[in-house]
C-alpha cells in the first residue's frame, strides 16, 4: 500500500530528477493551502498571491537542502512563513495616510454589517497573533492557519510536543489579554 509519505517521496525524487510534471503536481496539490496560510498571516489577497509565488520560487531554489524528514507541506509552510516575515520586516518608505497632499485612500470592504463585524473581529485576532513573540506566533500560525500537527511543529522547532502545547496555552493567554486591552 502506498502511503501519502511514500507518495511525497516519489514526487520529491521525481522533482529532484528534473521532472517538470512532478513539480507541477506538487504545485497543484499544495498551492491553495500555502495561499490560505499566507492570506491568514497578511490578510490581503493580492499580497498573499505574490508571497505564495515567492514561496515557490524559494522552494525550488532550496529543494536541494530539503532532507525529507518533515512533510513537504510543512517545509513549504516554513518557507512561506519566512517569506511573509521578510516582507513585513522589509523597510517601507511610507508615512501617515492623512497627509495634506496625499492620494485619497479609503479602506472600504464590501459586505453586510455582520460580515463586517466578523471580519473586524477576525482582523483584531490576526493583529493580536501578529503581536505575539516570534516562537509563540509561529506555533499558533503553523497550527491553526497552516494546519500543521503539533508533532510536525515540534519536529521543526526541535522541541517536545509538550513544549508546543505549553506555547499554545501561553499564546492564548496573551491573545486574550491583548483583545481585552483593545476593548477597554
Amino acid at each position: 500500500m502506498i502511503t501519502p509519505l511514500d507518495e511525497e517521496r516519489r514526487l520529491l525524487a521525481a522533482i529532484r530528477a528534473g521532472d517538470r510534471e512532478a513539480a507541477e503536481e506538487l504545485v497543484e496539490r499544495t498551492y491553495s493551502a500555502v495561499f490560505a496560510s499566507v492570506y491568514r498571516l497578511c490578510g490581503d489577497s493580492d499580497l498573499a498571491a505574490d508571497l505564495t509565488q515567492e514561496t515557490y520560487q524559494k522552494a525550488w531554489s532550496a529543494l536541494k537542502g530539503f532532507d525529507g524528514r518533515s512533510q513537504l507541506f510543512t517545509w513549504l509552510y516554513r518557507i512561506a512563513y519566512t517569506t511573509f516575515l521578510n516582507h513585513v520586516r522589509r523597510p517601507r518608505r511610507m508615512t501617515s495616510l492623512d497627509e495634506p497632499d496625499s492620494i485619497e485612500i479609503q479602506d472600504e470592504r464590501p459586505g453586510a454589517e455582520e460580515t463586517l463585524a466578523d471580519a473586524e473581529e477576525a482582523e483584531r485576532l490576526r493583529r493580536a497573533v501578529m503581536k505575539l513573540p516570534e516562537d509563540l506566533r509561529f506555533t499558533v500560525t503553523a497550527h491553526f492557519w497552516g494546519g500543521l500537527a503539533v508533532r510536525e511543529i515540534a519536529s521543526i522547532e526541535e522541541i517536545t510536543t509538550v513544549a508546543i502545547r505549553k506555547r499554545l496555552h501561553k499564546a492564548f493567554t496573551l491573545i486574550e489579554a491583548m483583545l481585552e486591552e483593545e476593548v477597554q
Binding site: F35, E99, D101, E104
Partner: protein, 490 residues
Amino acid sequence: MNSKRRAELQRKLTLNAVPRPPAGLVDRIRADIPKYLEQENERRRSSAFYLRVAASVLVAVTSVVAAMYVVNGPAHQEKSAAVAPGPFAPAQRRTSIAQDTPVAAPTETVRLEIAEETDLQLPPQLALDAAPPPPPAAVAAAPVSQARAQEIAEATPMVERQAENGVSGSVAGGVVGGTARGVVAEVARPQAVVVEREVAPAAPAVAAPVPTPVATSAPALEAPPPPPVMADAASRVGRATAERRAERSFAKEADREVFGISVDPHNFQQIRETLEAGARPAATAVDVEAIVNYFAGPPVKRPRRGVSLDVEASPAAIEAEGDHAILRFSIDTPVGGSTVVASNVRVDITFNDRVVAKHKRVGGDESLASESVLRNGMSVTGLYALELRPNLTATQRVATVRLQYKTVPAGKAETLTRHVLARDLAKSWARSTRRHRLASLGAVWGETLKGTAPGFDVARRAQELVTQDPKDARARELAAAANASSDGSR
C-alpha cells in the same frame, strides 16, 4: 482564561474565512518551475563538466611532464649514470621509451609549441574539445599558420574578456562557445595545429576571405614555414591589443544602455551647453531616460555585493488632474572596476489592473530588455508614470518589481522582489528620497523640453531641493538648467 473562552478563540482562529486563490496564481507559480529545475540540472551537468576538465588537465600535465622527461632523457640518463649507478631501473626504462616512441620530437620544437600556446592564450574550449594530437611530422613542419594566427588574434580579446569575467557564453561569430577555464590545460598541450581545424569553418563568416592559400585546412600544414616566431607573435600581440581596445570601446558604448534604458551621461551635458548658448535643444536631442538617470545618479550607499533593487513610489512630482503616481526602480551594483557581478539579469514589472488604470514607462517603450551581464559600478533607474483608479484600499497591491539574476562566479539564481502597495503612495512627493525626487523632476523637465508634456514649474521645485540641501550638485544643476529653459517651457 477558561477553557470555553479558549475554545472560542481557537474556533475563530480556525474558521477565519479565506478567499479562493486568485485566478492565474497557479499559472504564475508553474511558470517559475522549469527555469529552476533546469538550473538544478545545469548545475549537475556543470559539476560533471568540471570533473571532466580536471581529469583532462591532469592527463595533459602528466603527458607533457612525461614528454619533457623523455626528451631530456639521454642527457639526464648520462648524468644519473655518472652520479648514481645504483640499482634504480627508471633510467633504463626512459631510454627505451625514447627510442620506441615516435612522438619524441626534438626539444626545441616542443618548447616552441608551448611558448606559442602560452603567448596566444588559446580559447579554452577549442583545445579541450580537440582531436588527438597530429602526426609528429606535421607538428614539426608548421606549428601555427599565419591565417590561423590572425583568427586567434581576433578571438583572443573576447576570450580574455570571458576569462576575466568568469562567465559562460558564446562569443561573436560563433567561434567560441566556452567558459573561462582549462587555460592550464592549453598551456600544457602542444596541439595548436589540431585547434586550427576546429576554427577554420567559421572564418569566412566573420572576416573577409584571405587571398593567401595558407591555411584554414589540414593540407595547408605542409605549406612553407611562417616568418620568425618572435616577430609573428609581436604582430599578433599588437593586433590583439587593438582588438581588445576596440572591444572595450564597444563595451563602453554598450554600457550607455542597460535593460534598454538609456543611461548616457553626455545627453544632459549637451543639453546644458545648448541652453547656455542661448538656444533651445531640438526635441530629438532630448533623451528623457538619460536625463532621469543623470539626476537619479548612484545610490547614497552602493551594495557591498551582488545587485540591489530599490523600488519607490509616490504621487507625481507635479500635480496633474486625476490620481497620478510615479514608480521608480533603481538597480545598483557594488562600487569598483568592471568586474562582472551578475549574469542573465531580468527585470519584470507587473501592475495590478484593479489599481492602475494606465501605466507608461517614462521616456521609453514598455518592454525592458534583459542583460547578459552586469558589472560593478553600474546604476540604472527606470520610471513609470501611473494613473490610479479611485477608491483604493491601503493594502491593495499596485505593482510588483522582480529582478532575477545569477550571481557570478557562484552561478546561484537570485530573485529580488519588491511590492508596492497603495499605502506606499500615500506619502507626499516631498517626503520621498532625494534620488526619487531628482529622478522624477528630471523626467518632468525632460518631457517638457521634448514638448511631450505641458510646461511645468520644474525650476521652482528644483530650487526647493537646492534650498533643502545646498551641497547637492545635481539639484543645483537641475535648478539652473530648468531656469535656463523655463522661458520656453512655461
